[in-house]
């Protein structure tokens, strides 16, 4: 499952960019950090024998979704919204503690498990194989997701359509 050096490098970039996103005061910076993070994860996908997903990750996430984010940020002028951290320190501490707890839990669980898992052999994960798998076992969810996308589209239109009086942003 990949070289440990590559893993560590990518992991540092991923965690670093994530933290960057978290702490950036400027929303644009956050968005850029997030793009970096997504691309890192796409590389992970390649490492993990999922090249097609890596491509999807880059195009959909790093491309489409993040463009959407940037667009909204620009539209709202939200890049100027600085310093928007919670004003309740107790919450900050508590949330951090919970996060820490979660990580520790997993660590402990893995340690207690003890065994070193052996990975299976590489399998064919070409788009063809993926597509076959998708349409063999997941036709119905596929349809549902299609409908979901459609309704999301309609919903977005209804939500953002300007009302009769022409009140616009």
């Amino acid at each position: 499952m990949g070289n440990s050096f590559v893993f560590m490098l990518l992991a540092v970039i991923a965690v670093g960019s994530a933290i960057g996103m978290l702490v950036s005061r400027d929303a644009v910076h956050s968005a850029l950090f997030l793009v970096l993070n997504f691309i890192t994860i796409a590389v992970f996908y390649v490492v993990l024998n999922a090249p097609f997903l890596a491509m999807v990750q880059v195009t959909v996430y790093a491309g489409a979704i993040m463009v959407l984010f940037m667009f909204v940020i620009m539209l709202l002028g939200a890049e100027r919204l600085r310093g928007m951290w919670g004003d309740r320190p107790s919450e900050l501490v508590f949330a951090a503690f919970l996060g820490f707890l979660l990580v520790v839990t997993f660590l402990i669980a893995l340690v207690m498990e003890g065994k070193t898992a052996v990975s299976a052999n590489m399998i064919d994960s070409s788009p063809v194989a993926l597509g076959l798998r998708l349409f063999e076992g997941y036709v119905f969810p596929f349809e549902v997701v299609g409908i979901l996308l459609l309704s999301a589209m309609v919903g977005v239109v209804i939500l953002t359509i300007s009302n009769k009086r022409g009140k616009n942003v």
């Binding site: 508590f94 949330a95 919970l98 839990t105 997993f106 669980a109």
Partner: protein, 737 residues
């Protein structure tokens, strides 16, 4: 000719009248009073006459048919197959019902004409005629119904019409602020309902005992049971047949005392005189009040069987129901006759007279003289309707006279008070003549109608020995004397002597519309006796000189099954003498003439006194009868007691105790106390120690919880996150461990 197919028309004509007058009549009258009154009044009258014509055609059909009863089925009413209960709407056409139909529609039609004149100018003219037609409809259902249940429909229906008509002038308030008409209407209905209580129970009992409510079936089944002399299996136990019949007839008697105004339920009839006079004539003299007599005559078989009950099957072990009927009738006749002495209201005298005469009829049917009872019923319908309508004419005349006076200084003027009248025979010729005819007929003067019918009842009472007959005979004779006396008193006070009030001096004769029906009825009151003349000779030839004696007797025999039983010697009815009892006839005539003369020439000799003078009888014990009777007892004791009881139950028991105390105080407070106790124990650090119940506990708890509801999405998310983490931890170690 067979006209039984026409029978439904008997009911349809009045209904058309009701619909016309009820729905559109008012518009006619409002559009043009003169023409509108003509249309609505005459329309109602023509419907009544049409019904009369149908009744006449039924009469001839029965003649042609050999007097055989015919049942005309209309349509199903109540039909419960699984319970075996089936009652159709069906009309029974037999001699008894046709007799009643003729009386009802005949007298009713005349009263309709009279009412056109009498109600002239009333703003609810059309409503009045709608009610009159509605009354005819229900009365005809009552007499033509083929089952007890249909009879009951009519019975209640005429009660309703009585209510509506007594309360016709419901807005009237007397000078004491009492809603006189509305109260009288309600009283009539409620008192009648007490009687109906008996009818309902009797009808239900009849069904379970005899398995049907059709007259035919009931009487036939009863007869078979009577002949078999075996006990009846009723409600899971064996009951003697006599007891069942006694119970049924006793309950019928209760119903009859209500509708026919007998002791103890007569109290509504005098009050009912508050209604318009045509109503008093039609409903409260001629027709509706006689339905109690009709009911007993219709059930004659059952009553005669009850007469033969022995021992413990008798009512209270003492007396059979027909005997009780006779005693109730006779004592009512006597008591009401005496009360009539004390009345000053011209209609009040007639009202008590009606109660008294109904007593005669009830006594007659109780003694088994069914034909005599029916005969008196018919004759009474003629002369009492005549008297009431003439009295109405007098009242009209007095009101006219009062209007002519220019100084209305005496607002207390009562046009019905006989003390303000006097000498009216000079002002109102026709009315006075017909009134005197009616009064003499009522008093039983030969050869007017009342003589023959009353004499037949008295003869029956005297001809049978033993039992209650003697007592009944004595009471009825005294009642007959008092009848003659109070009518003499009334004649003297109203028509003779000098006018005691300016209104009487200026009274005017009523219009032709009112007097012509009076003349027609007066003629009937004179010749009516021919319907059932007794034999004067000893031989029993049915026909003598082309004229049939005892016509009514022969006619009604076909409907009176008890007579048929007599022939088969199953029943032993008291016999009615079919030739005149000279002793009874002569004695009663002498007494009647004597007591009229006594009133006329002795006690009320001096009638020119001022109208405030006390009555000469006021110092005699007879006068006390007016305060003694049941009305006072009911009105002053029973009804206020009921009102107080109802108020106590409603306010104290139901509301204050049950609603407020038990539910809102006891249950709720116990719960609250319980909750408060719980909270003070659970909540040691409670601010005040004892907290007021679960409500405030909840409020404080929610107040605490509310603080967590910051409304910030992030806070909620934090909670969710916490929950998620905890769940993960749980699953990790639960599954791993």
């Amino acid at each position: 000719m067979n006209a039984f197919g026409l029978a439904p028309l008997l009911l349809i004509f009045p209904v058309i009248g009701v619909l016309f007058n009820g729905l559109v009549g008012r518009k006619f009258v409002e559009a043009d009073r003169e023409i509108g009154e003509k249309w609505t009044g005459w329309f109602g009258t023509i419907m009544a006459f049409s019904a009369f014509a149908v009744a006449v055609s039924l009469f001839f059909s029965l003649q042609a048919n050999g007097h055989h009863a015919e049942v005309v089925h209309l349509f199903d009413w109540i039909n419960i197959p699984s319970a075996g209960f089936h009652v159709p709407w069906a009309m029974r056409i037999d001699t008894l019902s046709v007799t009643m139909m003729l009386v009802v529609t005949g007298v009713g039609s005349l009263i309709h004409i009279y009412a056109i004149g009498y109600m002239h100018g009333d703003k609810d003219f059309s409503r009045f005629f709608a009610y009159l037609n509605l009354f005819l409809f229900f009365m005809l259902i009552l007499v033509s119904g083929s089952s007890y249940l249909m009879l009951f429909v009519g019975w209640e229906g005429v009660g309703l019409c009585s209510f509506l008509l007594i309360g016709f002038w419901f807005s009237f308030v007397d000078k004491n602020g009492v809603w006189k008409n509305a109260n009288a209407a309600r009283k009539a209905f409620v008192v009648n309902r007490i009687g109906d209580f008996g009818i309902v129970l009797a009808v239900i009992l009849t069904f379970w005992a005899f398995g049907s409510l059709e007259f035919d079936v009931v009487f036939e089944t009863a007869l078979e049971m009577f002949k078999s002399k075996e006990p009846l299996l009723l409600f899971g136990q064996e009951v003697a047949f006599g007891s069942v019949v006694t119970a049924i007839t006793a309950l019928f008697l209760l119903g009859a005392t209500g509708k026919s105004a007998q002791i103890p339920l007569y109290v509504w009839l005098p009050d009912a005189m508050a209604g318009p006079t045509p109503v008093s004539a039609l409903i409260h003299a001629a027709t509706m009040v006689t339905s109690g007599i009709y009911l007993i005559v219709r059930s004659n078989t059952l009553f005669e069987m009850a007469r033969l009950s022995v021992g413990s099957e008798l009512l209270f072990g003492v007396i059979s129901t027909p005997d009780l009927v006779a005693l109730v009738g006779a004592s009512t006749a006597l008591l009401a006759g005496l009360i009539a002495f004390t009345q000053f209201d011209i209609k009040g005298v007639l009202a008590y007279s009606t109660v008294s005469q109904l007593g005669f009829m009830i006594a007659a049917v109780g003694m088994g003289a069914y034909v005599a009872g029916m005969f008196h019923l018919m004759m009474h319908a003629f002369f009492k309707a005549l008297l009431f309508m003439s009295a109405g004419s007098v009242i009209h005349g007095m009101e006219h006279g009062h209007h002519h006076l220019h100084d209305h200084d005496d607002d207390d003027f009562d046009p019905q008070d006989m003390r303000t009248m006097g000498g009216l025979r000079n002002r109102m010729n026709i009315t006075s003549v017909v009134y005197i005819i009616g009064a003499l007929a009522l008093a039983g003067i030969v050869p007017l109608a009342g003589f023959w019918s009353k004499d037949e009842i008295l003869a029956h009472a005297s001809a049978n020995d033993g039992g209650i007959f003697t007592a009944v005979y004595v009471m009825l004779v005294i009642a007959a004397i008092s009848t003659a006396f109070y009518m003499g008193r009334q004649l003297k006070m109203v028509f003779f002597g000098e006018p005691r009030h300016a209104a009487a001096a200026h009274a005017e004769e009523s219009s032709n519309l009112m007097t012509y029906p009076l003349i027609a009825l007066a003629a009937l009151a004179i010749v009516g006796g021919l319907a059932n003349l007794p034999h004067f000779a000893a031989e029993h030839g049915a026909e003598a000189g082309g004229f049939s004696y005892l016509a009514l007797e022969h006619w009604l025999e076909h409907s009176l099954h008890a007579f048929e039983l007599t022939e088969e010697h199953v029943l032993h009815m008291p016999h009615t003498p079919i030739q005149i009892q000279w002793s009874v006839a002569i004695i009663s005539t002498i007494l009647a003439v004597g007591s009229i003369s006594l009133a006329f020439f002795v006690i009320y000799k001096d009638t020119s006194k001022a109208n405030s003078a006390p009555d000469p009888l006021q110092k005699t014990p007879i006068w006390w009868t007016s305060v003694l009777p049941l009305n006072t007892l009911y009105m002053d004791y029973f009804i206020p007691a009921f009102n107080r009881m109802a108020k106590w139950v409603a306010i104290s028991l139901d509301w204050v105790f049950w609603h407020d105390f038990v539910h809102n105080r006891l249950v709720r407070d116990m719960f609250v106390t319980f909750a408060a106790f719980t909270s003070s124990v659970l909540d040691q650090k409670g601010v005040d120690g004892i907290v007021n119940g679960v409500a405030s506990t909840t409020r404080r708890l929610s107040g605490f919880l509310r603080q967590t509801e910051s409304g910030y999405v992030r806070s909620y998310a934090l909670s969710i996150f916490m929950g998620a983490v905890l769940l993960v931890i749980y699953f990790m170690f639960a599954t791993a461990g």
